[in-house]
Symmetry: C2
Subunit: 161 residues, 2 copies
């Protein structure tokens, strides 16, 4: 078993893998006669391949407890995928670099209940890992033709502590 | 002042105007080795016009208290617009039919804290009206070229009680 330490989730640390969907540090402006603040364009929604469309779904993720074992990672070559917490609970985010078409050098982060993440297309990531309770997430990803899922199972899994 | 009564927010009542983004009654299936339930494709994301792209933003809406006056409504001819509560608080949703390029016969609904709404393109709606506190909403709408905003100010406003 490989061991994986949790790193602070900062915009610069996460930038190679996607966007953090949060109000903090975001460009914002007033709309609706001043009654609404729009924190604008927080995720780069990528739609590739044939007949792409944007899907809005809700994922209900079961609760995971530490230590958490990462046995596999996946990626979506044809589109980005955003997860935004609807229950204000944190979740574990594990992403990896691509080396020879396999996930390598994984990084683990904890997104707070007011932070979503948007994985860029083709970025290796672990599947939804809710913490502190069964939790719902708004998901913005891609529908359309073509195979948009690639999975990799590790020979030696990672344990996040 | 015209008076507007609140109607129950049901899928059939809201169908002419858009989608209710909720898990109840939604098509769902298990993914991620059974650890996640995907409530799939809850909003019809419409992207029209030149160079459209999907925007993911957060709107922070100030709190409104009843009676609430609706002085204007707007519509977005080039794209749908979804609002999903991030703080589990309800909000007021007012939509209208189009008669001679003006909003007419408005309907008022209250979306619960676990219900989002997605306005179809070109549907007249009141602007964000948060209830029970300043609240954040995940918004999925359209960016791109062209004028995507039309506003109508009523001669006689509506009061929602």
């Amino acid at each position: 078993m490989n061991h994986l330490k949790i790193e602070p989730l900062t915009k610069s640390a996460f930038a190679p893998f996607g966007n953090i969907v949060e109000t903090e540090g975001a460009q914002s402006f007033k709309i609706n006669n001043g009654t609404t603040t729009r924190f604008h364009n927080l995720a780069d929604v990528q739609l590739r391949g044939e007949n792409p469309r944007t899907l809005v779904s809700i994922f209900r993720g079961e609760e995971f407890k530490f230590p958490i074992e990462i046995k596999m990672m996946e990626r979506h070559p044809l589109g980005s995928q955003a997860f935004i917490p609807l229950n204000a609970r944190p979740f574990l985010v594990v992403v990896a670099e691509d080396v020879n078409a396999k996930p390598a050098h994984p990084h683990a982060f904890i997104a707070k209940g007011n932070q979503g993440v948007n994985f860029h297309a083709n970025i290796w990531h672990a599947t939804l890992t809710a913490l502190e309770g069964v939790s719902d997430f708004l998901v913005v990803d891609r529908g359309g033709d073509g195979n948009n899922l690639e999975e990799h199972f590790f020979d030696i899994s990672y344990q996040v502590e």
